[in-house]
Each structure stands twice: as C-alpha cells, then as structure tokens.
Symmetry: C2
Amino acid sequence: MANELEYQAAVLKVLGDKTRLAIMALLKEREYCACDLLDFFDMSQPAISQHLKKLKALGLITETRRAQWAYYQINEASEHYPLVKAVLGFVAYVCDLPGSTCD
Amino acid sequence: MANELEYQAAVLKVLGDKTRLAIMALLKEREYCACDLLDFFDMSQPAISQHLKKLKALGLITETRRAQWAYYQINEASEHYPLVKAVLGFVAYVCDLPGSTCD
DNA sequence: GTATAATATAATTATACGCTTATATAAGTG
DNA sequence: CACTTATATAAGCGTATAATTATATTATAC
C-alpha cells in the first residue's frame, strides 16, 4: 500500500464538487434513481449521469438496475467508505435544493 | 449560512490534490517553513508556494513570518478545521516522500 | 413491431488547474 | 552598499474539468 495518499486525494477530489457532494449527502439518507437525483439539480441529465459515473468509477457508490431505472447507493463496502462516511458526517443537510427542509 | 455545502466542497477540492494533502499531513505533525516543505517534493519552489497559497486562501493553514522564513501551520481556528482534522485522521503518514519512515 | 421513458455516451467548448521559467520582493550577511 | 537566501508573483502552456447539445442504448408499454 505504497501510496494510499494518492488514492485518498482522488477520493477527496471527487467529493470536492458541490454537485457530487450533494449527491453523496442525498444518498447518505437513502438510495435514489438517476431520475430522482436529476430533479434536485438545475442541470442537464447527462451532467448528472457523468457525475454519477465519476463517483462510481472510484467505487464510492454502487448502481443497481431495476427495470428501466438505475438506482444508486453509497458503497459501504468501499475501501474508502470510512473516509467518505467521516466527510459526509460534516455535510449536515442539502439546503440549497428543492427537497430541503432546512433554512 | 445558506450554502455550507459549497464551502465544504471547496475545502475537499483543495485537499483533493496529492501534493497539498501531503503538505497538510506534514503540517499535522509540526510547522514547517516553505523551504523545508520544498525538500519533500520533486517540484519547483513556485509550485509549492502556489499550493501553500491555495491552502491559505481557504484559511486551512496560517503563515508566520520569522526573519526570512515563512512558517506554515494548520489553522486550528478555522471554521473548517473539524472537517480537515477528520480527513487528516485518515492520512496515516506521508510514505512517498524522502523523509518518510514507512514502507 | 413502434413509441416512449430512463439512462449513457460522444463530441464540443469554456474555464480551471498544476506545472514550468522568469522575475520581483524582502530579509540577512559581509 | 552588493550578494545571497527565502519566498512570492507573473506569464505561459498543456491538460483536466464540468457543462452543454446531440445521439445511442435499454427497457417498458401499446
């Protein structure tokens, strides 16, 4: 495990985007399909799809396909889940999105 | 504090670089001057200076000038220090650098 | 089968990033 | 003062990033 730090930096980098961090904060509560996530953001469908792809590429989330829907969930089996969990512990809630109850 | 998440993403983004994360891991142990940090990395002096600038811009580190040296330290008074501390808790040690004792 | 809904991929574009070299600034030394 | 050391800033460059629009894929419904 020569360069753990490099992987950790990659994880932080992928979390270091407003949209992806918000997606992770949402998935922390429960799974969502891509279409549901789309509703939270003022952004095109491909944009969300590409963010999900990056999170999946690092193994931070998993995808479950049921019928025509792709459901995403936090990958608790990830090697980096402890770090992800710790980070998400600081992301109180998603306040700047339609579904939010904060303010 | 409408969009805490955006600031947190910015913090994670700045930590999401191998060099900056290593710098933070070093500063976790003790303060260093810029010249000492330079020795750890196979990189130009301006490159390190610019990384330090980014860390300082977000308030993650502080700078103390003594004589001709600029000493840097983790800013424990930062609003984001709890997040930073938690993240650095996962960065065991800096293994890919000259001064490292791991492997 | 066609039509529609959900999702992914491809191509493009503008901007941000991380590095370099060159130069500037500031402090200590003789 | 000139000279060196430590550090920062400026300019330039190649690459990465995050978005867009357009198109492809996949599954369900009729």
